[in-house]
Symmetry: C2
Subunit: 552 residues, 2 copies
């Protein structure tokens, strides 16, 4: 069915979605286009894409301050009278700086040469040079945004030859078409890939978050895995021995349940961007949740497989997932080996969430739970485990999820110098009321609710709340906290505070509320986002501050 020229096939031959090289079988491969990946140019483009594969990285300044709505009226890519027509063949010749960079979008032809330097996703845009941007926009749905359409249309130079346009667009496949249905209460920060959080006020209603309310952080389309066919591969790098385990094999082992909070490194990014623009999804304070996880301790799996005896040179445990990016690279991450083999590390290969099989969005059939550690290492749809001398080489381990100084910009960010985020620092947030709400003053007091959590198994030992911008503080009540001791305290703490407000003067009528938590290492939160600002907008754990109107 590929009616476009061979040359163009080569040009767009970056595989959108291909079958994993792992033993595991993906069953949702219907209608997938599997292009041959032998063109050296394509491989170069593939490499370029590695740096772009995070949807977070592509969540640019275009849409930082508002949630993406894919249903906005689209005015880009429609046929425009009075513009010249170009064939695909002609467009394909404009694929270098010298020949100018042309791309197509539906029926539109665009010369984006002058936009390339300003593309928030960097050079990766060159993958579409001389061809259509659509496969990439389909994969990184963040582009499907009125603001992006408007920018693109500024570079319009013509219309695509009508016959070519029809052929071309018919071949566009949506790799997200088999994503699961989500509960409408989840508010998307991006739809493709799906990233969404619940309203914060709902979050603090339950110590254990119902699965429908648990934030979703997907980097790529959700793989559709047949549990019957599921195989987990385990290997020691450089050794010949590998082990392959089915889901049943895992379920036959003694199971363990832990309660653990998972948090996205970008949680509360929407507060940090107020200081200065960052690259990343515009998360509110609800990219965090708490659940029970049932599965097999990773250390037992390794031991059982005879893989617990290995050389001291091995320092990391790498996880590879079933979800694949546009270059065919699997999502991956790693953790230090001590965390994996320590009984008190409590790392699980989990197959249940809140007592039921994992939902597809949360890693069905098997995910890693690395309690106390950033969500990105809690790899979903686990396919392979590698015991290695090195960290995962994946984009998400090497070139994402790292912290930088406020003085570091993209130009001088050296990702090799900054450690991959593992344990997360102490944080807290007010979930009720919201910033700008008008709330009742009852007996001179207002009721505030929220959560606090710290990574590394540290317990929250105190939450301080102020209603006068930090002049006076009140110790919040602990509403829910589990009894495990640090450094194996994995769950969040839900708190509330009924604090007095000075509302005698009717002209005031508002309160500056802020919260900060202290963990069992007595670490506490930084006061402002200003001095912890970083290019990726991660680790946003400053005091949470809101302003509310008071009603007597």
């Amino acid at each position: 069915m590929h009616t476009i020229s061979r040359r163009l096939v080569q040009k767009i031959s970056v595989p959108i979605f291909r079958t994993s090289t792992h033993a595991t079988k993906l069953i949702s491969t219907q209608n997938q286009h599997r292009y041959e990946d032998k063109d050296p140019e394509t491989k170069l483009f593939g490499k370029l894409l590695i740096g772009a594969a995070s949807a977070g990285l592509l969540a640019t300044y275009f849409d930082e301050k508002k949630k993406v709505d894919c249903k906005v009226a689209q005015t880009s890519g429609t046929f425009k009278d009075g513009l010249p027509e170009y064939t695909i063949e002609e467009v394909s010749k404009h694929n270098t700086q010298e020949s100018r960079i042309w791309v197509t979008y539906k029926e539109g032809v665009y010369d984006i040469t002058d936009f390339v330097p300003g593309h928030p996703g960097g050079d990766q845009i060159l993958m579409a040079a001389g061809s259509s941007v659509e496969p990439f926009w389909v994969l990184y749905g963040i582009h499907e945004n009125q603001h992006v359409y408007d920018i693109l249309e500024k570079y319009r130079i013509g219309n695509l030859d009508k016959h070519d346009a029809q052929t071309f667009t018919q071949n566009m496949e949506d790799p997200y078409s088999s994503d699961p249905k989500r509960h409408p209460v989840l508010k998307p920060a991006s739809v493709k890939p799906f990233n969404a959080e619940p309203p914060p006020s709902l979050l603090v209603e339950n110590f254990i978050t119902p699965k429908e309310l648990f934030y979703v952080r997907n980097h790529l389309p959700v793989p559709n895995i047949d549990a019957e066919q599921y195989k987990l591969e385990i290997e020691i790098e450089g050794a010949k021995k590998t082990v392959s385990l089915s889901l049943d094999d895992l379920k036959k082992m003694p199971k363990k349940t832990i309660t653990a909070t998972i948090m996205c490194a970008g949680n509360r990014r929407s507060e940090m961007v107020k200081v200065k623009t960052v690259k990343g999804l515009n998360w509110g304070p609800a990219a965090v949740a708490n659940a029970t996880w049932t599965g097999v301790p990773l250390r037992d799996v390794l031991k059982n497989a005879g893989l617990d005896q290995f050389d001291d040179k091995y320092k990391h445990v790498q996880f590879e997932a079933e979800d694949v990016d546009a270059t065919g690279k699997n999502y991956g991450a790693s953790i230090p080996i001590w965390k994996a083999i320590d009984e008190r590390g409590d790392v699980l290969l989990a197959y249940e969430m809140n007592g039921a099989p994992l939902p597809r969005d949360h890693g069905y059939p098997v995910r890693v739970i690395v309690p106390g550690v950033v969500g990105a290492r809690n790899v979903k749809w686990l396919a392979k485990i590698v015991i290695s001398e090195h960290e995962s080489t994946s984009h998400w381990q090497q070139n994402d999820y790292k912290g930088f100084s406020p003085c570091t910009d993209w130009e001088d960010a050296d990702f090799t110098k900054s450690p991959a985020i593992q344990e997360l620092p102490v944080t807290s947030a007010i979930c009720k009321p919201y910033d700008g709400d008008t709330i009742d003053v009852v007996d001179g007091k207002i009721l505030i609710k929220g959560y606090a959590w710290s990574g590394g198994g540290q317990k929250i030992v105190r939450v301080d709340v102020s209603a006068d911008g930090g002049k006076t503080w009140h110790v919040a009540n602990v509403d829910a906290q589990d009894s495990s001791e640090p450094p194996r305290h994995w769950s969040w703490t839900l708190w509330s505070a009924n604090i007095p407000v000075d509302n005698k003067s009717k002209t005031v009528g508002f309160a500056d509320i802020m919260v900060k938590a202290v963990d069992s290492c007595y670490n506490t939160q930084p006061e402002n986002f200003e001095h912890i600002w970083n290019i990726r907008g991660v680790l946003g754990n400053a005091y949470h501050k809101i302003k509310v109107n008071l009603k007597q």
Copy 2:
């Protein structure tokens, strides 16, 4: 030689310094008065004293803002013409609120009834009721201060009968008389007990701190222990089996050396007191140092002694020391059992510091090194280890070394609700230049040096320095850091930064320098002391800020 009446002996029969009940022998007992301790009243007073035994607690508002100088001219306690004379017998009758509280100091008699509620050390002052304050002032040298003399003299009501005065004062013994000689470079925050730190600028000259420069934090007189006679007792609470080990027994076991920083919980208190008065020694930023420690892993000692198999109910390892307070209570502290038995916890029973036997001030012959954990748990002069269901009941574990909210004052501080400090939070300090210094600007830049450290085995991953009050930041260079990975990174990081200053305008001529560190959990420091202020002035880890004058 006790010529004072039996009744009075009972009254002052709180032992100042008594032989340990442990197997270990103290040899510096010459001229010590050992009073019998059978009077129920004395026991009550003993209990009261438990709460006062920390010299830190008695380092009151009297002398918070200046170093104690014991050589100030003393005008208190001298005979004053025209006042009535009282015998010891008469004074001793005034030992209750009803009969009024009288005390003596040298030749002076004082009615301190109205001062008791305001005594910063609390009710403990009642131990001296109807008797002399001198034994307590000798033990807690912090009282030997002109400001305290002046306050006392306000309550003067008479002179002590001349004969009684002579007899009484001759029996005052200085339990600190056998303390070791210290290097004069150590700047005392208190002399009895000895607490001192070196000039910060010297501290950052060496990654390994020479023993003479290592800060000294003593709560009580330094015991003088004969290593030949040394015995370490180990028991499981409630079990009959105990083990006794000599120093030779310990030395015969496989030894291990670790490099670890120890920090006092009160380090940098002198910055916190600028917000509001606290109780505690006025430490600068040099109550921290780094050394190599050689000894036997605690877990090996327990295992070797057959004490590694015990019920899960045991949660703590208590340490008792040879130094004793005025009630005969030994200094003590405890750590959670996981830290003690974890190989990666690296807890040592150390007998060497920097390759030589421990100096007396640092715990000779054996101390505990609990890396990553507050100095107070690194118990010196170790006498006994108890595996227990409970934390140490010592004053220093229960009623000291705990954090509180800025809103908590002494009246509402509930020590049972706040966890004992163990792992310390991330901190950093500028050691060179000092606040107020005038420094050279070379090629538009100034050179700043300091340290950074985090407890819990976390490594410093970045130090940010600003010379314009936080408007712009610069990443400091790491000058010295060991290669161990978190969470077993126990040493500090020494850093320097050569940062540009805007000194074009000659009218400016100064720089607001500040530093903050980030650890491997990406925890960072709070910005200001204001919101971390606490009654005991501990955990002072806000940004270190200094102002310097610039010289072109």
